[in-house]
Symmetry: C2
Subunit: 339 residues, 2 copies
DNA sequence: GTGACTTCTTTCATCGTTCCCCTATTTTGT
DNA sequence: ACAAAATAGGGGAACGATGAAAGAAGTCAC
């Protein structure tokens, strides 16, 4: 039960280790006969190169790291899907870490990936991350880095995002187009940029279409989940606001609100039209089916890896690549929760 | 911009590489003074051991592989969550691959992980996997292996599962207890054992409670998703069966069925009570909220890694560990879709 | 003074590949 | 026929860390 190594094969065939190595990699300076013999013996012994040794020599591990806030999340798991699909095709494996929205953990994980010497890193920032020193550290070490979705302008690396502001603008416009005059907004916490951008898009859409923006109609959902949506909706009702439209920052929050409306016999969409954001499974399964903004998670994952891959290749060839920013298309999905 | 190595530190301090190595690992045979000097210099230069070299020497990478059918899936992403949380605490990283329910891909991925020399492998089988040669190959190589959820009896390794049969029995019993007399079942495809087990649990519950099992009331959902649930429900109605209960193999399928029932003005739970399986987000967000079986994904992930960890430790110490099977508790979650 | 012991440090061999740089041998050109 | 070039293969030093074993230096006892 010994490990099969190049040495083993070389001894069996009475040739040098070098020749075996070259033969297996189809170097031109080995004769066909030798190559054939080596390959046959390698197959016979079921030889697989020791990747630890290869890593050490080549200084590459064909492994990339991915840090995301949460795994159990429709959008992020779609991104993971896109990343590992694409990565596998290019011969890369993906190590996944989740920051649980914690800056401290995120920082530690970055260091961990660096010490593991992954060939590249992809990250979507935790909400609580304000200092980006750890991310710039990655750049300082010349490790390829790509950020997606939750990014920071303070890090000069390639990024893949959607235009949150425009998407929110379109979502709000859809509500306006369908006749809504007083539109509330359930926004996220103050920190992640996406939450701000979506809010700004909402506000801009109102202003551009002759509706006055009323800050009282904006509610904050700390975790943008189902329960948050419920409580914001309850608060909205308790506050006695008469609205005919709601744009919620996530589908979960929208779903929570819809449940509350149903409980209170408020008809969706006749009394209040509701727009969500993300297009999770959920949105088609609830009643009424939720109109929402499709956020292309899988595409984002694929694109992110693609950019990372280019950077890794450039690095290998000692080239420098100017960071690029890719903005992916979103689209409005009209279902039954809007007219 | 050179890499910092032991050699570097040794030269700076005018001592040998070995001493540096030992000092950093707190070997007892290095003087305190030297240790302090080495540590100071290491910190000053920001030294991190080259993990490639360490891997090669120690023949360990502190990395484990995980193969699952799908990432974008509430249950599996919960398992991932449990695994990487636990793994990280023990200093292990997790490489995730998804088989997309394909046997061919799964097999390739197993070989890939073996060639990458991960310290252990965790897997939940693809539905289409019947031959388990690739899994036994893992065992032959003495690589620690743990299977979870979708397992095979033909592989002698540790496993973490739920008792699908009993859980389905309990779910069906809940329907019976709430007064249902004619209970339909939306089952999964023929292949994965879970699907069979749940079906058997359903059948047994009927028989044990004096209800006759009617094969005509069992519908097959190929992908057990929302659309499958819808079409099965439509078929059920078209077939003209009068039922007062439905046990669907997944929450998604149950949600699809409920939508159809609502469209046809069939009241849930008054006319038909519905039970799902898994307890996804979804189940609390739809109307009526879905009664279901809670499947502890996070726990399963944690437990699986724990078992793998034990095996990896045993291997390092050249001990042999008898495979164990852990059966996790499920519980019935009563919501509004059942009486 | 010499053997026996500590205590600290170095030497050396490895892990398994890769790749630069040689040496033979054969082929080609003129 | 002989220099130049092409072909085939081998030697051996890395890569960076580890650890068994040997060496050096100092301490102590009798």
């Amino acid at each position: 039960m010994k490990e099969v190594t190049l040495k083993q094969i070389a001894e069996n065939l009475g040739i040098s280790i070098t020749t075996v190595s070259k033969a297996l990699k189809d170097y031109k300076d080995v004769s066909k006969a030798t190559k054939a013999a080596v390959k046959a013996e390698a197959k016979r012994l079921n030889f697989t190169p020791n990747s630890f040794a290869v890593n050490l020599r080549t200084k590459e591990s064909k492994t990339v790291g991915l840090i995301i806030p949460e795994v159990v999340h429709h959008f992020f798991s779609s991104v993971i899907n896109g990343i590992i699909d694409k990565a596998e095709k290019k011969g890369y494996l993906v190590i996944i870490l989740q920051s649980n929205e914690s800056y401290k953990l995120e920082k530690k994980q970055v260091e961990l990936l660096i010490s593991k010497r992954v060939d590249g890193i992809m990250i979507s920032m935790a909400n609580t991350t304000v200092d980006v020193g750890h991310l710039n550290h990655i750049r300082d070490l010349k490790i390829p880095l790509v950020m997606f979705d939750k990014i920071s302008k303070l890090v000069a690396c390639s990024k893949v995002i959607i235009n949150d502001r425009m998407a929110a603008y379109e979502a709000t416009k859809h509500l306006i187009d369908s006749g809504c005059k007083r539109i509330a907004h359930f926004r996220g916490a103050l920190l992640p940029q996406n939450s701000i951008d979506r809010f700004l898009g909402y506000k801009k859409a109102l202003e551009d279409h002759g509706l006055t923006f009323d800050p009282a109609l904006v509610y904050i959902c700390e975790n943008v989940d189902y329960d948050n949506g419920r409580s914001a909706a309850l608060q909205l009702i308790a506050d006695g606001h008469k609205i005919d439209g709601l744009f919620a920052i996530t589908d979960m929050a929208a779903a929570g609100a819809i449940t509350v409306f149903k409980e209170r016999n408020i008809n969706v969409p006749d009394d209040i039209s509701v727009m969500g954001f993300s297009n999770w499974f959920l949105s088609q399964a609830i009643t009424p089916a939720l109109s929402t903004v499709d956020q292309p998670g899988y595409e984002m994952g694929k694109k992110s890896f693609k950019l990372l891959y280019k950077e890794m290749r450039a690095k290998r060839e000692d080239r420098y690549l100017e960071p690029v920013i890719r903005v992916l298309e979103t689209k409005i999905i009209k279902r039954q929760s809007t007219k």
